[in-house]
C-alpha cells in the first residue's frame, strides 16, 4: 500500500543535480545533496536515488517525487516524478519562505532568470514577472566554468573569487563566446586571473540587469539563487554593487538600518531552492501525483536498453560504422608520427625558430636550412605567452641538446595572437600574421593545394588558392569563435582529455544532429540531447561533425566544394583530433558526390605546428636575403626575467580614454638584462600612442600618425566629424516675421538630439531647420560621441537585445537626460523615427530599417516604464515619424510635432525644411568633393583605397570599432558607401557602357544585381559595391552588425558583386558592443598583406 511518507524534490540542471528528501509530516529536510553531474545526468540521478533509498529510506511504497530543472523534464517519467518548471519551483520557495523578497535572480548552468515578485493590490496574488535569457546566453554557470578552467582556476578556487576592490576590465557579457574572446585577449596582456574573473562577473551582472531585467528595477529584497550565486562570493558582490548603483540612480528607498548585503543576499540553501521548491509544489498536489516508481526504468535508460523521451531514438549514423572502418580511416589519414632527425654528440643543428603564440596553445619548431623540421613542441597555453614561450623553447632545446648536439639559430620569427609581444621579448626577426604563416607552411610541403583549412583553438581560417597563390581567405567572425577550444572544453567536461576525443567518438555508432553555428547554442543543445539519452561518445561524435559545417557552410558559405578544386589541406591544432578530421573528410567527400571528381584530402604532417613552421620559413627567407638575426639566443631566452605590471601606474593619459596598459619589464632590475642590453620595457597598449611613456616620444608617434592620416584620409571619420557643423546659408534663411515673444521663446529653447543612428546621415537637416526658425545653434545640444563608458552607464534600461547601434540609443538619451540636461536644462529631446529615407538611387522604395525606425519608441518605453523620467525632469520627448524623401510631407510632420512648442506658421516651417535640405545637400556635396579629390589622387598614383560597405551609423566612431582607423594607418584612404563621389563624368566612366547596353537604366540603378530594392541603405550598399567593383583603385571591406536584418539578405550579393569583378573583398561581420582587438588586428593585418600583393599587381598593370 502506498503511504506517502516522504516527498523528494530533485533539480536536474544542465551542470548539477540537487536533491532533497522531506518528511511529509514534519516538513523537515531529511536528506540533501548537490553535485556536478559532469554531463552525466542519468548516472548522477541514479546514484542520488540509490543513496536516497539507502540513506533516507525512500521507496516506491512511501515517496512522491517532484522534479525540476532542464534535465528534469526528460527524466521525470522514468521514475514517476511530476515535473515542475524550475522558475515556478524557485518562486514558490521564495514566496513561502522569503516573503520579504521583491525579486530573485537565479543563475543556472545554461540559463539565467530574473523574477520580479509584485503583489497585486486587488487580488492579493503575488504576480511573478519572470524573464529568462533567450538562446544568446552570456551570464551563466557554464560560461563561468569554462573560462575559469581556461584561466587555470580549480573548481574549489571559485569560492575564493572576489569582486569588491578588484580592478575591472572591459569584457562583453552578452554572449559566452564574446566574453571568452575578450578574456583571451586580456589574458595575453598579462591581466591576473582574479581580475579577469571579477570582470566577468561584472559583465554578466550588467548584461542581466540590462537585458534580462527587461528594464525593471530589482527592488529590495533581492535573493540570489543558483550555484554560482551561492558559491562564488565575487558574483554576489557584483550583484550587490551594481544593484546598489541602480537603487541610488533611481531613488529606491532602502529600509532604515538595513545594509546592501542584507538586502541583496544568497539565502541559506540558495543552491537547493529549485529542489526545495519542487518538493514544496508537491505539497498541494493530489496524493497520487508523483508516485515514485523506483529505479528500473531509469537503469534501463542508463544502460541503453530503452531510448530517452521524445527524439532520443532519432539521430544519424555516427562518424564510423565499425572498428574496421576506424582502422581504414586511420591508415589513410592519420599523420605519420613525427620522427625527428638524430644528432650525434657534437653536432650543430642549424636552423630557424618559429614560435606560434596562439589563443589556446603555444607551438614552436626548429627548421633546418632545407625546410626539414628538426624539433617541434606544442603545449596548451598556461595564460602567459612569455612564460609559455620560454618553456616551449626550452622543450625545443632539450630535444636537440639531450642528444649531445647544440643549436645554432640563424633566424627567428613569431606568429599567432601574441606574435608582437613575443617578437619584442625574444627580439625575433619578424612577426608574421598567422594566415600568411599557415599558408606558407602548406605551400612548402604540399605544392599547390586548392584550399587550406586551418582550425585552431579560437579561429578558423580558410585559404583558397589558385596556381599556388592565395586567391581568397575566410576567417570566422567572433560568433563562431572557439571551435577548437570548444571541442576540448566539452571533452574535458565529459572527463576525457582532448587527446582521447577521437578514440571516444569513434566508439559511437549513432550520433545526434547538432545545428551548426554558435558554440553557445551547441552548449545548450548538449544538455537537451543528454536528457534524451544520448551518451557522451555519441555527443562528441555529433560535435565533431559540426566542425566542417561551421567551416564550409557558416564561415565560408561555400556549399559547393568542387568549385574550389580538389586538393584540400587540413591543418591547425584541432586537426590532431582525428574525429574532427574524419568529420571533415566525410563532409568533403559527401560534397563531391555526384560531381565526377574525387577530392584529395591531406592532413598536414605537422598540423599543430603549421603556423610556427610558416613563421620559421619567413625567418629563413629573411636570412637568405642577407639579414642577420636579432634573436637574443636560447640561453638568453632561458634566463629571461620579466615583470608584468598592470595598474593605475600603467594607465595611459595621452588621451581622454585613459586606457589601462600592460608594462612588461624584461631583464633584472640591476640592469643585467637577459638580452645583455640592460632592462627594457615593452608596453602593450590599445593604440600606438600608448606604447611609449615619454611625452615627446608620444608626440613623435602622433606626428607620424597624423602624417599617415594626411596621406590617406579617412572619410568616415571626416564625415562623422563634419556632419554636426552645418548652419543655414543666408539665401535659405526664413524671413517670416514673428512676435517678439515667440522669437524670445525660440532663442531660449534648448533641444537635445542624440548623436546616433540616422542622425549620422541627416543632422544638418534638423540642425538648420531649428536654426532657421530662430533656435540658437548653441542651444541645439547633441549627446556626446559614443564611447564605452557612455554605453556602460547609459544602457541599463534596455529590455531587448537588438543590434548594437539601436541599443546605443538608450545610452545617448541617458547622456542627454542625465548629463547634458543636468548641466544646463534641456526643454526637449528630439529623436525622430525615420520611416522613409531619401535616396539618390533609382529604386522601388527607400524604407528605413524597422529596427532603427522604431528605436525611439523603444527608448520612450524604457524611460517611461517605471516612472516617466522625461516628465520628472521637465523634458518633452518628441519622436515623430518622418518621411525624409518627401519635403512637403516632412514639413507637415515636423509642423505637427513642433507647432505647439515653437508656435510655427506653415510658411516658415516649410522654408525651414527647405533650409535644412539645402544644408544636407551642401554637406553631401562637400563630402563628395573631398572624396573625388582623394579618388583622383589614387588613380594618378595607382594606389588602393578601401570602401567600407556599411551603413551611415558606421560613421559613428563608437560603432565602427576603430576598424577604419586601423586600415587607414596602413596607408589606405577610406571611403564609405555614403561618401563616394557621384560626379557625372565618373559615373559615366564606371556605368556608362552598361547604361548604353540597356543593362541598367541609369548609373543609379541597382536592378541588375538586386530586384527587391525596398531598403534605402541596403540599396545604397549594393550601389557602392557596384561602384567599388568597377573602380580599379578601390577594394571593399564590408561592415555589418550582429543581428543586422537588412544586411543579411544581401550578404551573398555584395560578395558576388565584388568578387566577380576580381576585386578583393573582406568582411567584418557580427560587429557588436565588444571590441575583439585581437581578431580585428588579425583581420586587418591579413587584409594589409593581401592588399600589398594586390597593389603590386595593380602597379605592374
Amino acid at each position: 500500500m502506498f503511504v506517502p511518507k516522504f516527498r523528494a524534490g530533485i533539480d536536474v540542471g544542465s551542470t548539477t543535480v540537487k536533491a532533497v528528501v522531506i518528511d511529509a509530516e514534519t516538513e523537515s529536510v531529511l536528506w540533501k545533496d548537490y553535485r556536478r553531474h559532469e554531463t552525466r545526468q542519468i548516472e548522477t540521478l541514479l546514484d542520488f536515488l540509490q543513496r536516497m533509498e539507502a540513506e533516507a529510506g525512500i521507496s516506491p511504497e512511501n515517496c512522491r517525487v517532484f522534479m525540476t530543472g532542464v534535465g528534469g523534464n526528460m527524466l521525470a517519467d522514468p521514475i514517476g516524478a511530476k515535473f515542475v518548471q524550475e522558475v515556478l519551483a524557485a518562486a514558490l520557495m521564495v514566496e513561502r519562505h522569503c516573503p520579504e523578497a521583491a525579486s530573485f535572480v537565479e543563475i543556472g548552468g545554461q540559463d539565467a532568470k530574473i523574477v520580479i515578485l509584485r503583489k497585486d493590490p486587488e487580488t492579493g496574488r503575488i504576480k511573478k514577472v519572470p524573464s529568462m535569457n533567450d538562446k544568446c546566453a552570456g551570464g551563466t554557470g557554464a560560461v563561468i566554468d569554462k573560462i575559469s578552467k581556461k584561466l587555470g582556476i580549480p573548481l574549489e578556487g571559485l569560492s575564493q573569487l572576489r569582486y569588491a576592490g578588484i580592478r575591472i576590465h572591459p569584457v562583453a557579457g552578452k554572449c559566452g563566446v564574446f566574453a571568452e574572446t575578450d578574456i583571451n585577449s586580456l589574458q595575453k596582456q598579462g591581466i591576473p586571473a582574479e581580475e579577469l574573473m571579477a570582470s566577468l562577473f561584472e559583465a554578466f551582472v550588467l548584461q542581466n540587469l540590462r537585458v534580462l531585467a527587461r528594464g525593471h528595477t530589482l527592488l529590495p529584497h533581492v535573493l540570489l539563487l543558483g550555484g554560482p550565486n551561492a558559491f562564488i562570493p565575487g558574483m554576489r558582490e557584483a550583484w550587490q554593487h551594481n544593484i546598489r548603483i541602480r537603487w541610488e540612480e533611481r531613488g529606491v528607498e532602502i529600509p532604515a538600518g538595513a545594509t546592501v548585503e542584507e538586502l541583496i543576499r544568497a539565502p541559506q540553501d540558495a543552491e537547493y531552492f529549485g529542489a526545495l521548491g519542487a518538493a514544496e509544489f508537491g505539497k498541494e498536489e493530489e496524493a497520487e501525483v508523483g508516485h515514485y516508481l523506483g529505479l528500473t526504468q531509469l537503469k534501463n535508460l542508463y544502460l541503453g536498453r530503452s531510448e530517452g523521451q521524445s527524439r532520443g531514438g532519432l539521430g544519424i549514423p555516427a562518424l564510423v560504422g565499425s572498428e574496421e572502418e576506424v582502422q581504414t580511416f586511420l591508415k589513410e589519414y592519420a599523420p605519420p608520427p613525427f620522427v625527428p632527425p638524430i644528432f650525434k654528440p657534437g653536432d650543430t643543428a642549424r636552423g630557424f625558430i618559429g614560435v606560434d603564440g596562439g589563443s589556446t596553445s603555444t607551438k614552436a619548431v626548429l627548421l633546418s636550412l632545407e625546410g626539414e623540421v628538426l624539433a617541434r613542441a606544442y603545449q596548451l597555453s598556461k595564460g602567459n605567452p612569455i612564460e609559455d614561450t620560454i618553456e616551449i623553447l626550452e622543450k625545443l632545446r632539450r630535444q636537440i641538446e639531450n642528444q649531445g648536439a647544440q643549436i645554432e639559430v640563424l633566424g627567428a620569427a613569431t606568429t599567432g595572437y601574441a606574435k608582437d609581444t613575443l617578437r619584442d621579448v625574444i627580439c625575433a626577426d619578424v612577426a608574421l600574421v598567422e594566415t600568411v604563416a599557415h599558408t606558407k607552411s602548406a605551400l612548402h610541403y604540399y605544392g599547390a593545394p586548392d584550399a587550406i583549412v586551418d582550425v585552431g583553438g579560437q579561429d578558423i581560417k580558410l585559404m583558397i588558392l589558385k596556381d599556388g597563390r592565395v586567391k581568397d581567405f575566410k576567417l570566422n567572425t567572433q560568433c563562431s569563435a572557439g571551435n577548437g577550444y570548444f571541442l576540448q572544453a566539452i571533452s574535458e567536461g565529459f572527463g576525457f582529455q582532448v587527446e582521447q576525443f577521437a578514440d571516444v567518438a569513434f566508439t559511437a555508432r549513432k550520433m545526434p544532429v547538432f545545428p551548426y553555428g554558435c558554440a553557445v547554442f551547441l552548449q545548450a543543445d548538449i544538455a537537451s540531447f543528454q536528457g534524451q539519452g544520448w551518451k557522451p561518445n555519441e555527443i562528441l561524435a555529433g560535435l565533431a561533425a559540426v566542425l566542417p559545417k561551421n567551416v564550409w557552410l557558416y564561415i565560408a558559405k561555400i556549399p559547393n566544394l568542387p568549385e574550389l578544386g580538389t586538393r584540400f589541406i587540413l591543418q591547425g591544432g584541432t586537426q590532431n583530433n582525428l574525429a574532427a578530421v574524419k568529420a571533415q573528410v566525410d563532409f568533403i567527400n559527401q560534397r563531391f558526390a555526384g560531381s565526377g571528381l574525387k577530392p584529395e584530402i591531406t592532413v598536414h604532417k605537422h598540423a599543430g605546428e603549421a603556423g610556427a613552421i610558416g613563421a620559421a620559413f619567413e625567418a629563413m627567407t629573411l636570412w637568405q636575403q642577407g639579414r642577420k638575426t636579432s634573436f637574443i639566443g636560447l640561453d638568453a631566452v632561458r634566463n629571461i626575467q620579466y615583470q608584468t605590471t598592470v595598474g593605475e601606474e600603467t594607465r595611459c593619459h595621452f588621451c581622454k580614454n585613459h586606457c589601462l596598459r600592460t608594462f612588461i619589464d624584461i631583464g633584472a632590475e640591476n640592469g643585467n638584462g637577459a638580452s645583455g642590453n640592460g632592462r627594457r620595457r615593452l608596453i602593450v597598449a590599445t593604440c600606438e600612442k600608448g606604447t611609449v611613456e615619454d611625452l615627446d616620444a608620444m608626440k613623435a608617434i602622433q606626428a607620424g600618425l597624423d602624417a599617415a592620416r594626411e596621406a590617406s584620409p579617412n572619410l568616415l571619420e571626416y564625415a562623422g566629424r563634419e556632419i554636426w557643423k552645418y548652419h543655414p546659408s543666408e539665401k535659405t534663411a526664413p524671413k517670416t516675421k514673428i512676435s517678439r515673444q515667440t522669437a524670445e521663446k525660440r532663442e531660449k529653447i534648448r533641444i537635445g538630439i542624440p548623436r546616433v543612428l540616422g542622425m549620422y546621415g541627416y543632422a544638418p537637416l534638423f540642425h538648420c531647420y531649428f536654426e532657421s526658425l530662430g533656435v540658437l545653434s548653441g542651444n541645439i545640444v547633441y549627446s556626446d560621441f559614443t564611447n564605452e563608458e557612455m554605453f556602460r552607464v547609459g544602457s541599463n534600461r534596455g529590455s531587448i537585445d537588438p543590434c548594437y547601434p539601436s541599443k546605443l540609443a538608450l545610452a545617448h538619451i541617458h547622456n542627454l537626460l542625465f548629463e547634458k540636461h543636468r548641466r544646463k536644462p534641456l526643454d526637449c529631446i528630439f529623436f525622430p523615427m525615420f520611416d522613409v529615407l531619401r535616396s539618390p538611387l533609382n529604386i522601388r522604395a527607400s524604407n528605413a530599417c524597422p529596427t532603427t525606425a522604431l528605436t525611439p519608441e523603444v527608448v520612450r518605453a524604457a524611460f517611461t516604464k517605471e516612472r516617466d523620467l522625461f516628465v520628472e525632469n521637465g523634458v518633452i520627448y518628441l519622436d515623430p515619424l518622418l518621411d525624409l524623401s518627401k519635403p512637403d510631407l516632412l514639413a507637415r510632420q515636423m509642423f505637427a510635432a513642433w507647432d505647439a512648442i515653437l508656435k510655427l506658421s506653415k510658411a516658415e516651417n516649410l522654408r525651414a525644411i527647405h533650409s535644412g535640405y539645402d544644408a544636407l545637400d551642401r554637406y553631401e556635396s562637400d563630402i563628395q568633393r573631398k572624396a573625388r579629390e582623394i579618388l583622383d589622387r589614387l588613380e594618378e598614383e595607382c594606389g588602393v583605397g578601401i570602401v567600407l560597405l556599411g551603413r551611415p551609423y558606421h560613421h559613428d566612431p563608437g560603432v565602427n570599432l576603430g576598424i577604419p582607423e586601423e586600415l587607414q594607418k596602413r596607408g589606405y584612404p577610406i571611403f564609405s558607401q555614403a561618401t563616394l563621389p557621384m560626379d557625372r563624368d565618373l559615373l559615366e566612366r564606371l556605368f556608362g557602357e552598361e547604361v548604353k547596353e540597356g543593362i541598367i537604366s541609369d548609373p543609379m540603378d541597382v536592378g541588375d544585381v538586386w530586384k527587391h530594392t525596398f531598403s534605402a541603405n541596403s540599396s545604397n550598399k549594393l550601389w557602392a559595391a557596384k561602384f567599388t567593383a568597377r573602380h580599379p583603385n578601390l577594394i571593399a571591406v564590408e561592415l555589418s552588425n550582429f543581428k543586422c536584418g537588412h544586411d543579411a539578405p544581401i550578404y551573398a550579393t555584395i560578395e558576388k558583386i565584388i568578387e566577380t569583378s576580381g576585386t578583393p573583398y573582406f568582411a567584418f561581420k557580427d560587429i557588436d558592443e565588444n571590441k575583439p582587438t585581437g581578431s580585428i588586428k588579425l583581420r586587418v593585418e591579413t587584409i594589409d598583406y593581401f592588399l600589398k600583393l594586390y597593389r603590386k599587381k595593380l602597379a605592374e598593370g
Binding site: 529568462m132 543543445d525 528605413a848 524597422p850 547596353e997 527587391h1012 543579411a1048 566577380t1060 569583378s1061
Partner: protein, 561 residues
C-alpha cells in the same frame, strides 16, 4: 522592354570585365500551365490544403511543401545567407526537402526546374520579408536547382496584381476561392483549438475536422459560380457588356454572392457544423487560455518553425487561441487607410499644391475621398464576410477585432503609422486581450532577430509595467534551443494556470456549489456538452470553465443568461 529582357539581350553580347548580375528569372507561361506543378507552403496546413483545392479547381497542378521541421531549418541555413530570420530558412529548407525527394524518386534536376515552381507572397515594406523571394532563389541555386522559379503574389496589390508570371491567371472565381480559403482556414483552425482543449474522447476533434476539411476541399475544388451574363437575357447583357468596368463589377458581385452565400457553400458549412457539434466536450476542465500573437509566420505556423508550440501548449494543458490571418488582412486594409490621412491634400507625388491652386486642391481631395471610401468598404466587406462564415460554422469562433480599437489601444506606446512587421498589432492585441479578460496569458512568437517584432517587445516591457496583472511572454523562434523555449513557456504558463485556477475557484465559490453538482447537471443536459452551445462570456472572466460554472449555476437556479 523589361529590365529582365534588356539584361538578357545585353549580356549575351558582353565581353568586358565580368560583373555580377542577378540570375535572370524565368517566367511561367500559359502554355506550361498543364505540366508545371505549383508548390504551396508557409501557412497553416488547413489553409494550404484549401489553397491546393482552389488551384486544382482552376486547372493548375498543385502540391504542398512538407511541414517544416528541424531538417528544413538546417537545409535552409546551409544554402541561404547567414543571419536570416528563421521563416526564410524553414521555408527554403522545406522547398529543398521536397525537391530532393523528387530527385530521389528519379526526376532529374532539369525536369524539376522545368516542371515545378514555388508560389509565395511578397511585400515591399521595410521588413526583410520583401526580400525572401531572393533568399529562396539563392538557397535553391546553392542547392543545385538553378533557375527554379519563385513566383510572388504581392500582398499589397491583392488579387488585382500584375504578376511576372502570365501562366497564373487571376480570374474572379480563383480570387473568390482564395478569399474563402482565408476565411475557412482561420475559422476552422480557431474551432479546432477551441474544441480540442475540452474534447471528451481524445483525438475526436482532429478526426472530425479532417472529414470537414475533405468536404470543404471538394467544394473549393469543384464549385464554379455561374456567370451573371450567361444567365441574363441578351437584351440586358448586350448593352451592359459594352462597359467593361460595369460588366466586371456586376459579375464580381454576382459571383461573390454565389461563392460566399450560395446554396452549395452554405450546405457544406452546415454539414461541417453538424459534424463538429457532435463532438462531446467537457467545459469543466480547467484550461488557461493562451492567446497567440507575434510575427505573421511564427504565430501562424504549426511546425518546427515555432517549436510546435501549439501542440506543446495543448499537451501542457492550455487552450490555444490562435491568431487569424484575417486579422493581418484587416490590418493591411486599415493601415492603408490610416496612412492616407497625413497625406490628405497632397498630390500623388506628395507635393503640397499652392494655396491658390484650388483646382488641384479639389482634385486631391476627391482622390483622397475615393481611395478612403474604397478601403473603408473593403474593410467592412471583408469583416462582414468573415463573420458570416463564423456564423455559418456555429457562431463560436473568435470574431475579428476592430482595427481602430487595436490601434487606439496601442497609441500611447506605439505609433499606429509606424510600419514593418505587425505594426501596432502586437501591442494593441496584448492590451486588448488582457483588458477585456479574454485570455490568461499572451504568448508572442517571433523569429530570432525579427526587426520590427523585437522592437515591439521593447515596447511591450512598458505595456506590462502599466498593466500589473498581465502575463505576457515573448519567445524568439530561432530553429534551435527548443528545450529552452518550452521551458520559458512552461514558466509563464505556470503563472497562467495559477491565474485560471484562482478565477475558477472564485467562480465556483460564488455559486456555492461544488464541481460535481455542476458536472452532474451538465451531463443531464447534453446540449451543454456540445461545442456550439454558447456559454455567455462574463466581463472580467476569461476561463471557459469559470464562465461555464457560472452559467450552469444560473441554469440550475432557473435564471437565463
Amino acid at each position: 522592354m523589361s529590365q529582365e529582357d534588356r539584361m538578357e539581350s545585353a549580356l549575351s553580347t558582353r565581353t568586358r570585365t565580368p560583373q555580377y548580375r542577378r540570375p535572370l528569372e524565368r517566367s511561367f507561361t500559359a502554355e506550361e500551365r498543364d505540366k508545371v506543378t505549383i508548390l504551396v507552403g508557409g501557412l497553416t496546413r488547413k489553409h494550404e490544403e484549401f489553397i491546393r483545392a482552389v488551384f486544382q479547381g482552376s486547372g493548375y497542378r498543385c502540391e504542398l511543401l512538407p511541414i517544416p521541421d528541424q531538417e528544413s531549418f538546417l537545409l535552409g541555413k546551409e544554402f541561404g545567407n547567414n543571419g536570416q530570420c528563421s521563416p526564410a530558412y524553414f521555408t527554403s529548407g522545406a522547398l529543398i526537402q521536397y525537391l530532393r525527394r523528387l530527385e530521389a524518386e528519379g526526376m532529374s534536376r532539369g525536369e524539376i526546374v522545368d516542371n515545378y515552381l514555388y508560389f509565395t507572397a511578397g511585400s515591399c515594406g521595410p521588413c526583410r520579408f520583401g526580400t525572401y523571394a531572393a533568399e529562396y532563389r539563392l538557397a535553391l541555386q546553392n542547392a543545385g536547382y538553378n533557375g527554379f522559379r519563385v513566383v510572388r503574389f504581392q500582398q499589397d496589390e491583392g488579387i488585382r496584381q500584375k504578376t511576372t508570371a502570365p501562366g497564373l491567371k487571376y480570374t474572379i472565381d480563383f480570387g473568390l476561392g482564395m478569399l474563402k480559403v482565408l476565411f475557412l482556414g482561420d475559422v476552422l483552425n480557431d474551432l479546432a483549438y477551441n474544441v480540442r482543449a475540452y474534447e471528451v474522447n481524445p483525438g475526436e476533434t482532429d478526426r472530425v475536422i479532417q472529414v470537414c476539411m475533405q468536404d470543404l476541399c471538394d467544394h473549393l475544388r469543384d464549385y464554379k459560380a455561374p456567370d451573371l451574363f450567361d444567365r441574363m437575357p441578351r437584351w440586358v447583357s448586350a448593352p451592359l457588356s459594352k462597359n467593361e468596368i460595369a460588366r466586371g463589377l456586376l459579375n464580381f458581385v454576382y459571383k461573390m454572392r454565389h461563392h460566399l452565400r450560395g446554396k452549395e457553400f452554405l450546405e457544406v458549412l452546415e454539414r461541417c457544423c453538424k459534424r463538429i457539434d457532435g463532438i462531446a466536450v467537457d467545459r469543466t476542465r480547467l484550461r488557461p487560455i493562451v492567446k497567440i500573437i507575434g510575427e505573421f509566420w511564427a504565430q501562424t505556423t504549426e511546425s518546427g518553425g515555432n517549436y510546435w508550440m501549439f501542440d506543446f501548449l495543448e499537451k501542457e494543458g492550455a487552450q490555444v487561441q490562435p491568431e487569424a490571418i484575417g486579422t493581418w488582412i484587416a490590418y493591411l486594409l486599415a493601415h492603408a487607410r490610416m496612412q492616407m490621412y497625413p497625406k490628405r491634400g497632397l498630390d500623388s507625388q506628395s507635393r503640397e499644391p499652392a494655396r491658390w491652386d484650388l483646382r488641384q486642391r479639389w482634385q486631391n481631395e476627391i482622390a483622397f475621398q475615393k481611395k478612403r471610401a474604397l478601403l473603408a468598404f473593403g474593410e467592412w466587406l471583408y469583416t462582414r464576410l468573415y463573420h458570416q462564415v463564423i456564423k455559418s460554422l456555429g457562431s463560436t469562433a473568435h470574431t475579428l477585432v476592430p482595427q481602430m480599437q487595436l490601434a487606439h489601444l496601442a497609441d500611447p506606446f506605439y505609433k499606429r503609422l509606424a510600419r514593418g512587421g505587425e505594426g501596432y498589432l502586437e501591442v494593441g492585441k496584448n492590451i486588448y486581450y488582457h483588458k477585456n479578460k479574454l485570455c490568461h496569458m499572451v504568448l508572442s512568437l517571433k523569429p530570432f532577430g525579427c526587426l520590427p517584432s523585437s522592437q515591439s517587445d521593447g515596447i511591450q516591457s512598458a505595456v506590462t509595467s502599466r498593466f500589473k496583472d498581465m502575463i505576457f511572454l515573448p519567445i524568439e523562434t530561432s530553429g534551435e534551443g527548443e528545450v529552452n523555449a518550452h521551458s520559458r513557456v512552461q514558466m509563464a504558463l505556470g503563472e497562467a494556470k495559477a491565474k485560471a485556477k484562482a478565477e475558477f475557484q472564485e467562480a465556483l465559490a460564488c455559486t456555492g456549489r461544488n464541481i460535481e453538482d455542476i458536472r452532474a447537471f451538465a451531463e443531464k443536459h447534453s446540449e451543454l456538452c456540445r461545442p456550439f452551445y454558447r456559454v455567455p462570456h462574463r466581463p472580467g472572466i476569461a476561463g471557459v470553465a469559470a464562465n461555464f460554472v457560472l452559467h450552469v449555476n444560473d441554469l440550475m437556479a432557473g435564471r437565463t443568461a
